[in-house]
Symmetry: D2
């Protein structure tokens, strides 16, 4: 069994720690808000006082934070993880951040003799609980192979896509379709509904058609009833689209459907839907179409 | 066994006639270009000299033509099907045409004492051959119930969505997502590729992700190798988007992703990709991104 | 002085007739709704009972109607103008219709030995009253030269742009920028306002900047106060954008800003702004931005 | 006459210094690349060794740099201008940078007892040489009034729009229309040309129409012949659109025409037009339309 450190104990991070503990690993954790760690501490996780202290511990260090700024906050400075890493350690970042920031951090980690992998996941908390999470990995192949048994505890489908930063690039390239498919689905439902077809019937037909991706199957029903808690809210979705749009500018790839969908996410936020799952794109478009509810 | 008439013997129409013949029905057919009917005649289909003559025959009349103009051509005038229909007959149009045109034709058919159903399908020739075609039906429920056994020979999933014209409305509302999903997928593949990930690897990851609808799974591989023959070419796809955009204007539904994707279909045609499957949207976007092949 | 016939006595048509009467020409008019002609009859215009009767009269026949369907209504059939035209007559259509429809009508007119010119105008009723209207002309050069003195009574800037249909093509190619410029202006005003700049100040700066086209100068103030009566309402503006989008598809010209602006016109109509001047695009975008008024 | 310091001696900055020298002011300058200052040194400008040294000198300090990063480079650190400023000095930044960065710098400047104004200009070098440049000013009104006589040497139209950062906000809100109007103009020219109207004729009609803003009049002719040197290249234009899009996200203003035009700027760069004036949007769209030249 390995000594594992984990920073970032939100919904996804906590789920991962539970799986690691359940598999018999020794886990030490850190989170900006300590209170969130309480259930995990009761489940056997140890606590560390700072990112730096966590990094000094285990053989494998994980981070799962919400964006590039949060990653900077835990990685840099005297209390950051780079300061705590040393030769031979493997650091695995599972956050979705900008590929450039990921590569910069990998270089800083390498300068301490450690190795970094970017390892974002595809799927939500329920996918993970079902044991179906996919993990894409970027970085040194030897480090990848050493980490594989631990990563497979988190999710069974692990794919090495190339050098540092490429796994987050791949994640971002995937995620833009989430929002675009949701908006196109909404356009279809509203067209059908205003034609005279019941919203439920329209949705049923669409969910049985060739356009029904797993994402469409998960979120389609949210058109009828939004979930009590957002799986992935408007701002989170927009964060990923902004990373895609930034990559598009740097790499010279025009992204017409991404760009226009991003403006609809802004519209949804302006209409007061900020905290809701991005399936609320349907509600935003419905208002633009003069549909009351 | 029933007496069935069939007008429009293209790829889809011919496949349907084969299934009807195989199930033991007596089929009389008509097609503008008679030569296309030869293999079906050898398989047992009978020939009629005009749409009107066909309509005068069997108890169930089917049409499967390429657009609204083609439907007008076979339905109106002294040799058209309306002239041939009489009380008690059931006429089933499987084409994707404008909902307004479909409703107008249904009214003309009703004035002859016959009943019309609009019954577009979701799926391609391969879906039909696998016996998995979905059929949406609009129109009178009694006529729908009488037709059900025959329709189930063509495809097993038959859904009555409402009054005349609503099935084609539903079909159009579904199809807009085909093109939008294809363009969003292309944006993702190009982002990944220009990041440094092999096109094959990028596509593999995307086809295993939550955005992989059946459509994405069918057409994703076309990004690596376009098919010798288009399944659904740029102009056919644009025809459906134009029907969606026309409905959007009449029903006051803004369609941002549909509108912008439609301009990319025009771009693809302007670049010389007119005759290719609409998966060629990838090639059009690649050129805009300065990618040679 | 010439004998002039005029069909279509709306705001623009009536203004033109007044100018022709003021210049001493003998004018016979026709309008679907006779009541609208009353003030012109008092000003000296004569009345004719049908388009055909009007066409049989004067040497120059004008039409100024609202769209392609209205042009068909007055031009075809036994009471239509084609039936009334004869060799040597010149027929000038000032409506904005589809270039294809214009060319078809020109062919029908030519078959009667008469000549047709398409002559749409650029500018509104106030431009005409100031004597500054521009007129673009498509069609036979000899017919153009014969008509020039009469056209100059209506507006001083008359340009021959080429063969039949090309003047309406040019008009449509110009008009798409009206809506796009208005929407871009609205985006700028809302950005400035939400930054903390008073709407009036923002508008003043914009109206003094390099983006202030005559259109922006006319309609910018409508952002502060919509006019009591629309100069050019949402549906009229959308009619022109649809003609542009149709041309774009036929001629293979992608129109990204036109397509997306057209969806915002639909949004404006869905929000209940149908009857208002298209400057109401600002209000539609403001609602999308969560701005109350 | 005042003691004026000036940092950033590019095309615009040099032109401003010349006007200040011509008006009799004593000017001390600094530029990252010293060579560019040579002609100004010959014209009487003095040289300083660092931004900090420049800031320590004159009563009025100006900066005119290319983007937010360049402004950070000259303003922060031990050699930066903030380190050199002291009570009573007035610092005027004429660059177009992010409003947030401008406000942060203003706060740093205030902490030294000095006052900062953001004062971006509307117009190009030729506008300035004609003595017609507009200047928008954000910041403290007293500092604005003290600076007015000096600002009027640079351009005659000076408007105080509000607090710190609001002038750059206003500039960005104006500039988005530059690119959008250029793209809409290009759509119109290509529609007309593919209809059969000569490109020159189409452009002439458009330049005489109600859509002809000063920007359209300047850049329209570039469609026929691109200038030898870019006035404002693709990357500069995209920098401004990105600032607008960033503001839109922060302030919840959807920017549909800006977002789609921005993707066309990326397309133009991907096609190899990076160094050209943004009027090259026409060429990018022409390629998408299959037009060779």
């Amino acid at each position: 069994m390995a000594k594992v450190s984990f920073i970032g104990l939100g919904v996804m991070g906590s789920g991962m720690v539970r799986r690691l503990l359940a598999a018999g690993h020794e886990v030490t954790g850190y989170n900006r808000t300590e209170a969130k760690a309480q259930p995990l501490l009761e489940a056997g996780m140890k606590w560390a006082e700072s990112p730096c202290a966590v990094a000094r511990g285990g053989d494998f260090l994980f981070t799962m934070v919400s964006n590039t700024d949060a990653l900077h906050a835990v990685s840099s400075g005297p209390n950051g993880i780079v300061a705590g890493l040393s030769a031979g350690k493997i650091y695995i970042d599972m956050s979705t951040v900008s590929p450039a920031a990921s590569r910069e951090l990998a270089a800083a980690v390498a300068s301490k003799g450690a190795a970094m992998l970017d390892a974002p996941v595809s799927g939500s908390i329920s996918t993970m609980e079902e044991g179906k999470l996919s993990i894409m990995v970027g970085g040194d192949r030897a480090a990848y192979e050493k980490s594989l048994p631990i990563l497979q505890v988190i999710g069974p489908k692990v794919t090495h896509v190339g050098a540092n930063g490429l796994a987050v690039s791949m994640k971002i390239a995937t995620n833009l379709s989430l929002a675009v498919q949701m908006l196109a689905l909404s356009e279809g439902v509203l067209l059908a509904e205003k034609s005279g077809i019941a919203r439920e019937t329209a949705l049923e037909v669409l969910l049985n058609s060739v356009i029904a991706s797993p994402m469409v199957k998960y979120r389609g029903p949210f058109i009828l009833k939004m979930p009590d808690e957002a799986w992935f809210d408007i701002n989170m979705m927009q964060k990923d689209l902004l990373l895609a749009l930034e990559m598009g500018r740097k790499l010279d790839v025009p992204l017409p459907t991404t760009a226009i969908t991003n403006e609809l996410l802004t519209t949804a936020r302006a209409m007061g839907f900020e905290k809701q799952d991005f399936a609320v794109l349907f509600q935003a478009l419905a208002r633009m179409a003069g549909v009351k509810k």
